[in-house]
């Protein structure tokens, strides 16, 4: 009952092109979801600190509602729950044009936006309140103060935890296989189905995720150095 390793299955047949497609899909869904998550995270994270209660309450609701329900449930929600609200022809059009991908992207983006929101809120709250007052005192509106001063400072402070969240997002994109998105994990399983070589396929998937994560961490480390606030001690260097 020795397991016979056959690493050749990874480059024989279609395995290579499947893995490549899987990587591209994973990167595509993660990149779009990341943009959505960053936008929602910045918006709701900022709203949680504004001096107006109804906006704060709305942001708190968004964060608590979305981050406290498992991602898998959100995948099903966006794929099975949302389309029936649309007219039938629209549904059919969507189902013929990659509804799975978009549902997965929204699930991932909205869920991680709620988590990103907490990171950004903590970044904003670590900025002395007097920075906000100084912005207001020179005639900026609240919106301008956030856009030009508060958020840019906060974003520079939160690169390390945001890196962490970004890596989580990338890895969580594999949950989209439950709604038929052919991303990297899906493709490694597919290779396993065709070749019955589980360990080889899993190892390939693991290594690719590792490379992707290390690359993202490297890019984020560069961003951190490039945009660090002078005078604050840079990490890594």
């Amino acid at each position: 009952m020795n397991y016979q390793f056959q690493w050749g299955v990874l480059w024989s047949g279609q395995s290579g092109s499947w893995l490549l497609q899987g990587v591209l899909t994973t990167l595509g869904i993660s990149a779009l979801a990341w943009i959505l998550a960053a936008a929602l995270g910045i918006l709701s994270g900022a709203l949680r600190t504004v001096p107006w209660r109804p906006l704060r309450a709305a942001a708190v609701f968004y964060v608590e509602f979305f981050r406290n329900v498992p991602l898998l449930v959100w995948m099903f929600f966006w794929y099975f729950g949302v389309p029936p609200l649309l007219p039938r022809p629209v549904q059919d059009w969507l189902f013929n044009h990659g509804a799975e991908f978009w549902a997965g992207m929204f699930a991932l983006g909205v869920y991680h936006g709620a988590r990103m929101s907490e990171v950004i809120r903590s970044g904003i709250q670590s900025i002395p309140r007097t920075q906000f007052e100084a912005s207001m005192a020179m005639g900026l509106t609240t919106f301008q103060a956030y856009r030009l001063v508060i958020v840019p400072i906060a974003l520079r402070l939160i690169v390390p935890p945001a890196t962490n969240e970004s890596l989580n997002l990338l890895k969580n994109s594999s949950v989209a296989l439950t709604i038929s998105v052919a991303e990297l994990t899906f493709q490694t399983r597919q290779i396993e189905t065709y070749t019955a070589k589980a360990i080889e396929a899993l190892t390939a998937g693991t290594l690719i995720y590792l490379v992707l994560c290390v690359s993202i961490a490297a890019v984020m480390a560069w961003v951190e150095r490039r945009f660090r606030i002078p005078g604050l001690i840079a990490r890594g260097g």
Binding site: M136, A137, G139, I153, G231
Partner: protein, 246 residues
């Protein structure tokens, strides 16, 4: 009689249950330099923070540059472009260079072109005597230099009134004078100024009037010579004895 630019009329201010300004009446004329002093917790910082609406008031009326800022619907950002403020903790934006700090509001609020704003900014840096620091980041400046940039930043909006909230309290002693000198120049040029400070030398030399506050009320206001020579109230005398002999 010259034009009144700031007028407190029976202004009341609470922080929750704490009554921090009690029926304050005060008028400041154009070109006047008013030093506000008093023990900590006397409400002096709160007083000047009301002038540009950083603190809302709960009673009375406050008229700034002919506009009642307690009236509903008043556009505070527009008012604030005409009232500059300098803080104890400088509050330069750490992610921007000195030049960017100074040009931010002129470009974003007044709609000046970047070139115009930069020209003004460089002139102001000249005026606060650090023309060579335009490209530096705040963290690379000394406290005194940072505070002078903060003054230049406020002046860039060409305000009619300047508020100073303990501008030298966070500075090392050797840097205090470089900031006070800039403020003195400004006063000589005829700027209307309200200055919260413990620098009694500055008050004596530059102020037209000294306002002494305690417990949320204005206890005494007088010309500096009169105030320092013969304060009327016991509280003011006690305060002066502490601050001048320490």
């Amino acid at each position: 009689m010259s034009e009144t630019v700031i007028e407190f009329k029976a202004v009341d201010k609470w922080f929750g249950k704490l009554h921090v300004l009690r029926a304050v009446d005060l008028a400041v004329s154009v070109g006047e330099v008013v030093v506000v002093c008093g023990p900590s917790g006397s409400g002096k910082s709160t007083l000047i923070r009301c002038v540009n609406g950083l603190e809302a008031i709960q009673g009375g009326e406050l008229v700034v540059l002919g506009e009642s800022i307690t009236r509903p619907g008043v556009r505070m950002p527009a008012l604030r472009t005409r009232v500059g403020m300098v803080f104890q903790s400088f509050n330069l934006f750490p992610h921007m260079t000195v030049l960017q700090n100074i040009t931010l509001a002129p470009v974003r609020v007044k709609g000046l072109s970047a070139a115009e704003a930069e020209k003004t900014a460089r002139a102001l840096l000249e005026r606060v005597r650090i023309p060579d620091k335009a490209a530096a980041y705040p963290a690379n400046l000394s406290g005194g230099q940072q505070q002078r940039v903060a003054i230049a930043r406020a002046l860039a909006m060409q305000p009619r009134i300047m508020l100073f909230d303990e501008p030298t309290s966070a500075l090392d002693p050797e840097m205090i004078n470089e900031v006070l000198d800039v403020m003195t120049d400004l006063a000589k040029d005829g700027m209307t100024m309200m200055v919260v400070t413990h620098e009694m030398g500055f008050a004596r030399r530059v102020a037209h009037r000294v306002v002494f506050m305690d417990g949320g009320s204005i206890v005494e206001e007088a010309a500096p010579e009169a105030f320092f020579a013969a304060a009327q109230s016991d509280r003011a005398r006690e305060f002066l004895s502490k601050i001048l002999t320490h």
